[in-house]
C-alpha cells in the first residue's frame, strides 16, 4: 500500500528550500523519508568538520619531499574517483588524474604515495586486512596488487577463461576482495554482473548481475517482428553495477545507477538480494560503503546527496546537496566516493573539486544508529530507551515510533504498540498489531458475543411470533407505514427499490415517485457519506491522513464530475433523440448512486474492524458497490431516454468524452482567465505607481 513518490517529494522539498531561502545561504539540512514516502526535515545527522583539499598537507613524507625541493610534495588530487578507509583509519584515495594512490592519515596528512608511475588511471581501490592494496587500473585494463610496503606484487589482466567472453573488454572500474581473497570487480560494460576472480586471478564467474526486467514494447515486438527485424533492434540490456562494497560478514553490496527499485543490493554468497524492504532508493548512487554496524552510506553523484540506510535497507537520513558555487562545507559538486572510519567519521570524496570533506555524526545520528542496531539485533527491550531519546530530540521521527511500536509488539504489549504505530502510520505493522489486539478482545468476549447473538435471534423470533398471534406492536408498524407513505419519505425510500428493481425503479422515478427535492436531499446525503468515508475509513485501507483532507475539496471532487455528467448526458441525449428531461436525468443520476449511499457507511464501519488480512472483503465490497452504481447509471441512460442497448453504449461513451472535453475547456478557460486577471492587475498596479 505504500506509495513512494520520493522523486516528487524530494524535488518539492528542495524547491521549497530554494524558494524559501536567499540564494547565498542555502541551509544545510538533513531530512528523512517518512512512512508515506514524503521527505521530512529532521535534526542534522552529520556536521561537516573539515576538508582535505591536497594543498598544504605535508605529513612526514610530504615534509621530506618539500625539504628536498622536489615537485612531488604537492598532493593536489586530480579527478579522484575512489576512497577507502582501512582498519587502522588510514585513508586511501585513488587519485585517478595523477595515476597514483594517495595514503593519508585520519586527519588528512600525507603518509605516502603508492604506484606513482606504475598506474595509468586508477579508478577503484581496496585494502585488505593485511595491508595489501588492490587497485582497479581502468586505463591499463588490469588489476594491480601492491603489498603493504607499496611494492607492486601482481597484475591481473583480462581473464583468459572462455566463460568470461572473448569479445568482452576488461576495463576494471571498482574492486573489492572478500574474506577468502576472491576479487570482485566492476568492469565497464559487463552487464552480466561483477567479475569474480580467485586470489590467483582465475576467472570464477559473474556475480550478482542485474536483470533487464520485462518490457511490454519489446514483448509486442517479439510477437510481430520477423527474425531479421528483431536482429536489427538494439538489444535491451540490464544496467551493470556501478560500485560495490563489502561488510565485515563478507556480504557484498552493489549500487547501480539507473535501477528504479533495487538500486542498492545486499548480496549473499549466491548473489541474491537480501533486502526485502521497499525503502526509498535513489537512482544515481555513485558509491556505497558500509560501516562497522552495518549502516550503509551511499553518495548520489547528480544531486550531491548522501543517503544513510540501516542494515535492513530502510532509509535513515539524507543530507548534503549540490554546491551552487559558494564553496561551502557540506555541499558537493560531484561526490564520487564515501568511506567511514572506525570512529564513525565520514569522508566524502568530490571528483570535480578534488577534495575530501570530513563529516562528524551528531549525537542524534549516533542515537539513531544505536537504537536501530539494537533493534535489528533483536534486542527490542534495550532499544526502547535509545528510541525514546531519539524522540525527545525529534518527536516526528517516524522510524523511532515504528521502532518503539515494534519493541512493544515483540514484548506483547499490543495496546502501546498500536498507539505508536498509529503515529508512525506504518500500515503493515499497524495491521498486525491490530490483529493481535482484536484477538485479545475476542478471547475475552467471544462467549458473551455468542450468547448475546443467540439471545437476540431468540428474542426476534419470539417478538415475531407474538406479533403474529396477538397483533402486538401493530400500531407502531402502522405508524411506520404511514410515515412511509409521505411523498418525500417515499421518494427517499425509493433508493431501496432501485437496488432490487432497477428497471421498474426508473419507470416509477419518471412518473412522480421521486421529486427533485428528494433527489437533492439524497445528493447532499451522498456528499455527507463520501466525507464520512474519507474521514472514517481505517487508514490501513485509505492511506489518507484525515488531518490533511480538505472537506470542500473532497465535496467538489464528487460534485463537479457528477454535474458534468448530468449536463453532458442531457445535452448529448437531446441531440441523440433521448426522451429524458433534464430533471429526469438529474434525478436518475442521483438514484443510480443509491448503492453507494446505502452501503458506504456500513462498509466504512466494517473497515474499522478489519486488518490487511481481510482486505479482500473490504476491496470486493467496495468494487461491488461501484460496479453496481455503474450498472444502475447505465440502466438509467437506457430507461430514462428510452434507448436500445447499442444506443445506450453509444450515448454513455459520448457523454464521457463530452465530460473530458468539458474538463479541457474548463482548464483552458481558467488558465486564460488567470492570465487576464494577472494582466488587469499589473496594469492597475502600473497605473497606481505612475499616478
Amino acid at each position: 500500500m505504500k506509495i513512494w513518490k520520493p522523486g516528487i517529494a524530494l524535488g518539492l522539498l528542495l524547491s521549497l528550500l530554494l524558494g524559501a531561502a536567499p540564494a547565498y545561504a542555502k541551509p544545510y539540512v538533513s531530512f528523512t523519508v517518512n512512512q508515506q514516502g514524503s521527505a521530512r526535515l529532521t535534526q542534522s545527522a552529520y556536521i561537516p568538520v573539515g576538508v582535505i583539499d591536497g594543498y598544504g598537507i605535508f605529513g612526514k613524507s610530504g615534509a621530506a619531499a618539500k625539504a628536498a625541493g622536489g615537485p612531488d610534495f604537492e598532493v593536489a588530487l586530480d579527478e579522484p574517483q575512489d576512497l577507502f578507509v582501512d582498519s587502522g583509519n588510514r585513508l586511501y584515495v585513488a587519485d585517478t588524474g595523477n595515476g597514483r594512490i594517495v595514503e593519508l592519515d585520519e586527519r588528512g596528512s600525507l603518509l605516502r604515495l603508492i604506484g606513482q608511475g606504475e598506474l595509468k588511471q586508477p579508478t577503484g581501490l581496496y585494502v585488505d586486512g593485511a595491508g595489501n592494496v588492490y587497485v582497479a587500473d581502468y586505463g591499463a585494463g588490469q588489476v594491480v596488487i601492491f603489498d603493504k610496503n607499496g611494492r607492486k606484487t601482481k597484475t591481473i589482466g583480462k581473464p583468459a577463461s572462455k566463460l568470461f567472453g572473448a569479445d568482452n573488454a576488461f576495463k576494471p572500474q571498482k574492486i573489492i576482495a572478500d574474506k577468502r581473497g576472491n576479487l570482485y570487480i566492476v568492469a565497464e560494460g559487463l552487464i552480466q554482473g561483477l567479475v569474480e576472480l580467485s586470489p590467483e586471478g582465475d576467472f570464477l564467474g559473474y556475480f550478482g548481475g542485474n536483470r533487464a526486467g520485462f518490457d511490454l514494447e519489446r514483448a509486442v515486438q517479439r510477437i510481430f517482428f520477423t527474425k531479421k527485424q528483431l536482429s536489427q533492434l538494439s538489444q535491451k540490456l540490464p544496467p551493470s553495477p556501478t560500485n560495490l562494497a563489502v561488510d565485515r560478514d563478507g556480504l557484498i553490496y552493489t549500487a547501480t545507477v539507473g535501477l528504479e527499485s533495487k538500486a542498492v543490493k545486499k548480496l549473499n554468497v549466491a548473489g541474491e538480494d537480501l533486502f526485502q524492504s521497499s525503502a526509498y532508493m535513489d537512482t544515481n548512487l555513485s558509491d556505497i560503503t558500509v560501516d562497522g554496524m552495518g549502516n550503509i552510506f551511499a553518495a548520489d553523484a547528480v544531486e550531491g546527496l548522501i543517503y544513510v540506510y540501516d542494515k535492513d535497507g530502510s532509509l535513515l537520513f539524507v543530507f548534503g546537496g549540490n554546491d551552487s558555487g559558494d564553496q561551502r562545507l557540506g555541499f558537493f559538486t560531484s561526490p564520487s566516493g564515501v568511506a567511514v572510519n572506525g570512529n564513525g567519521l565520514l569522508y566524502v570524496l568530490d571528483k570535480e573539486r578534488g577534495n575530501i570533506q570530513l563529516f562528524e555524526p551528531t549525537p542524534f545520528a549516533l542515537l539513531v544508529y544505536k537504537a536501530t542496531s539494537l533493534y535489528l539485533d533483536g534486542k527490542y527491550a534495550e532499544s526502547l530507551e535509545p528510541w525514546r531519546q531519539v524522540l525527545r530530540m525529534d518527536g516526528m521521527f517516524d522510524l523511532a515510533h515504528v521502532g518503539i511500536g515494534l519493541a512493544y509488539y515483540k514484548q506483547g504489549e499490543y495496546g502501546k504498540a498500536f498507539e505508536e504505530l498509529k503515529i508512525a502510520r506504518n500500515v503493515t505493522e499497524y495491521s498486525n498489531t491490530y490483529w493481535e489486539l482484536r484477538r485479545q478482545w475476542l478471547m475475552s468476549h467471544v462467549s458473551t458475543i455468542i450468547a448475546a447473538l443467540a439471545g437476540l435471534i431468540a428474542l426476534w423470533l419470539i417478538v415475531k411470533r407474538v406479533h403474529r398471534k396477538t397483533g402486538f406492536g401493530a400500531p407502531a408498524l402502522r405508524t411506520l407505514r404511514r410515515i412511509g407513505e409521505i411523498p418525500l419519505v417515499r421518494g427517499l425510500l425509493h433508493t431501496f427499490r432501485m437496488l432490487r428493481h432497477p428497471i421498474d425503479g426508473y419507470y416509477e422515478l419518471e412518473n412522480g415517485r421521486a421529486s427533485v427535492l428528494s433527489a437533492t436531499i439524497l445528493l447532499a446525503l451522498l456528499v455527507a457519506v463520501r466525507l464520512y468515508e474519507v474521514y472514517g475509513t481505517n487508514f490501513i485501507f485509505s492511506g489518507i491522513d484525515p488531518v490533511r483532507v480538505n472537506m470542500i475539496g473532497e465535496a467538489l471532487k464528487l460534485l463537479i464530475p457528477f454535474f458534468a455528467w448530468v449536463v453532458c448526458n442531457y445535452l448529448v441525449s437531446v441531440i441523440n433523440d433521448g426522451e429524458g428531461k433534464f430533471r429526469d436525468v438529474y434525478k436518475g443520476s442521483v438514484y443510480a448512486l443509491s448503492p453507494y449511499i446505502l452501503f458506504t457507511v456500513p462498509i466504512t464501519v466494517m473497515s474499522k474492524g478489519l486488518t490487511l488480512l481481510e482486505s479482500v472483503v473490504y476491496a470486493y465490497s467496495r468494487q461491488l458497490v461501484i460496479l453496481w452504481c455503474v450498472f444502475l447509471m447505465f440502466v438509467m441512460v437506457k430507461e430514462i431516454h428510452g434507448y436500445e442497448l447499442k444506443e445506450t453504449f453509444k450515448n454513455a461513451a459520448i457523454t464521457v468524452s463530452g465530460m473530458i472535453v468539458m474538463a479541457l475547456i474548463a482548464f483552458i478557460f481558467f488558465g486564460l482567465s488567470d492570465q487576464v486577471w494577472d494582466f488587469v492587475r499589473s496594469v492597475a498596479e502600473e497605473v497606481k505607481y505612475r499616478v
Partner: protein, 326 residues
C-alpha cells in the same frame, strides 16, 4: 377431487361424534393415506437418516468434545468454538480470508458464467446445442482426470510447463515460476481452475429452465412493450426460471465451499504452501485426518455447515418464490 369429496364426507359423518374419535385417532382415514405415503418414502428416509442426519448430528455432538479417535470423546463444552475464534491463528489469518476470497469470486463468478453460457446456448439450434452443451459440461465430468492431465502440466513449475515455457519464450519472465508452490499464484490458479470447472449441475438445470420457457411468453412480452434482449432476460427469462436459478445458486454455494480439494491437488500438500490456498475444508481435513483432532474438526465443519446454510438462505431470499412482494 375424489379424495377431497371423501374428506368432506368424512367430516360431515364424523363431526357430531368427535369425542371418541380422538381416542381412535389412528383409524382416521387421512392418516392411513399418509401412512402409505410414508411407507413409500421409507427407504429414502431410512437411508437419508442413516447417512446424512445421523452423521451431521454426530458431528454437532462431537464438536463439543475433545476426541482423538483413540480415547473416548471427552465433553469440553464450547471450548472448540472459542479456540477456533481466538487460538487458531491459521484459521483466522489465512483460512477464513482465503475462503471468503475464493467464495466471493468463484461463487457469483461461476454462477453468472453458467447462466450466461446456458442463455447463449439456448439461442442456437438444437443439434449444435447438444454438442456444445456436452463440450462445456465436460470439465465438471472429467474433473480429476483433467486436473492431472491439463492443469498440472500447464502450471508445471519447471521450464517445460506450458505456461512457463510460453512466458519465457516471449520474454515475460527470465526463469520458471513455481506456479503451484508459490503463495502468490496458488490462489488465482485455484480460482481459474474452479471457474473453468464450474459448469456443473447448476448449468444443466439452468439450460433446462431456459429451454422450458414457453416461447409464447416472449411473444406476449414483445406485444406488451419489451424492447430489448436485456429486458427480455430481466422480465421473462429470469422470473420464469426462478426454481432453476435457485437450484443453481444453492449448488454454487455448496460447491464453492466444498471445493477445498483443489488447492491440495494443485500444490500436492496439505496445508498448502504458507496457507496460501487453504480453505475451510482443507482445514477440516488437516485437523481431522492429519492431526486426529476430530472434535475440533467437527467444530470447524459445523461452522462450515452454518456458513453454507446462511448463504443458501440468502439464495432462497433472492430467488425463492414469495407471495407478498411480486
Amino acid at each position: 377431487m375424489k379424495q377431497a369429496a371423501e374428506l368432506l364426507q368424512g367430516d360431515k359423518l364424523h363431526g357430531p361424534r368427535s369425542e371418541p374419535l380422538k381416542l381412535r385417532w389412528y383409524r382416521k382415514r387421512t392418516f392411513r393415506n399418509e401412512l402409505s405415503a410414508y411407507l413409500f418414502l421409507s427407504p429414502y428416509l431410512l437411508l437419508f437418516t442413516l447417512f446424512i442426519v445421523i452423521p451431521v448430528l454426530a458431528a454437532v455432538g462431537l464438536s463439543f468434545t475433545y476426541f482423538n479417535t483413540v480415547q473416548a470423546p471427552k465433553f469440553i463444552g464450547l471450548q472448540n468454538y472459542v479456540n477456533l475464534l481466538t487460538q487458531d491463528s491459521e484459521f483466522m489469518m489465512y483460512v477464513l480470508p482465503n475462503t471468503i476470497k475464493f467464495a466471493l469470486v468463484v461463487g457469483p463468478g461461476g454462477y453468472l458464467l453458467s447462466f450466461l453460457l446456458a442463455w447463449l446456448l439456448a439461442q442456437i439450434p438444437r443439434r449444435s446445442r447438444t454438442l456444445l452443451t456436452l463440450a462445456i459440461y465436460s470439465p465438471s465430468l472429467t474433473a480429476s482426470v483433467a486436473m492431472a492431465v491439463v492443469w498440472l502440466i500447464v502450471f508445471s513449475g519447471d521450464s517445460t510447463g506450458y505456461l512457463n515455457a510460453f512466458l519465457i519464450k516471449w520474454g515475460f519472465i527470465n526463469e520458471p515460476i513455481q506456479w503451484t508452490q508459490s503463495p502468490h499464484y496458488l490462489m488465482p490458479i485455484m480460482i481459474t481452475v474452479t471457474l473453468w470447472n464450474s459448469m456443473g449441475v447448476g448449468f444443466l438445470a439452468m439450460l433446462a429452465g431456459i429451454l422450458n420457457i414457453n416461447p409464447e411468453m416472449y411473444e406476449a412480452g414483445y406485444i406488451d412493450g419489451i424492447r430489448s434482449r436485456l429486458q427480455e432476460v430481466w422480465y421473462i427469462t429470469i422470473p420464469s426460471m426462478k426454481p432453476q436459478m435457485l437450484f443453481g445458486a444453492v449448488m454454487a454455494v455448496v460447491g464453492t465451499f466444498q471445493a477445498g480439494d483443489i488447492g491440495v491437488q494443485l500444490s500436492g500438500a496439505n496445508p498448502t504452501p504458507q496457507y496460501a490456498g487453504q480453505l475451510i475444508s482443507n482445514h477440516i481435513a488437516d485437523y481431522g485426518f492429519i492431526r486426529y483432532d476430530m472434535g475440533y474438526a467437527s467444530a470447524v465443519s459445523v461452522v462450515l455447515l452454518l456458513i453454507i446454510y446462511g448463504f443458501s438462505k440468502l439464495a432462497w431470499r433472492l430467488f425463492g418464490e414469495k407471495d407478498g412482494e411480486r
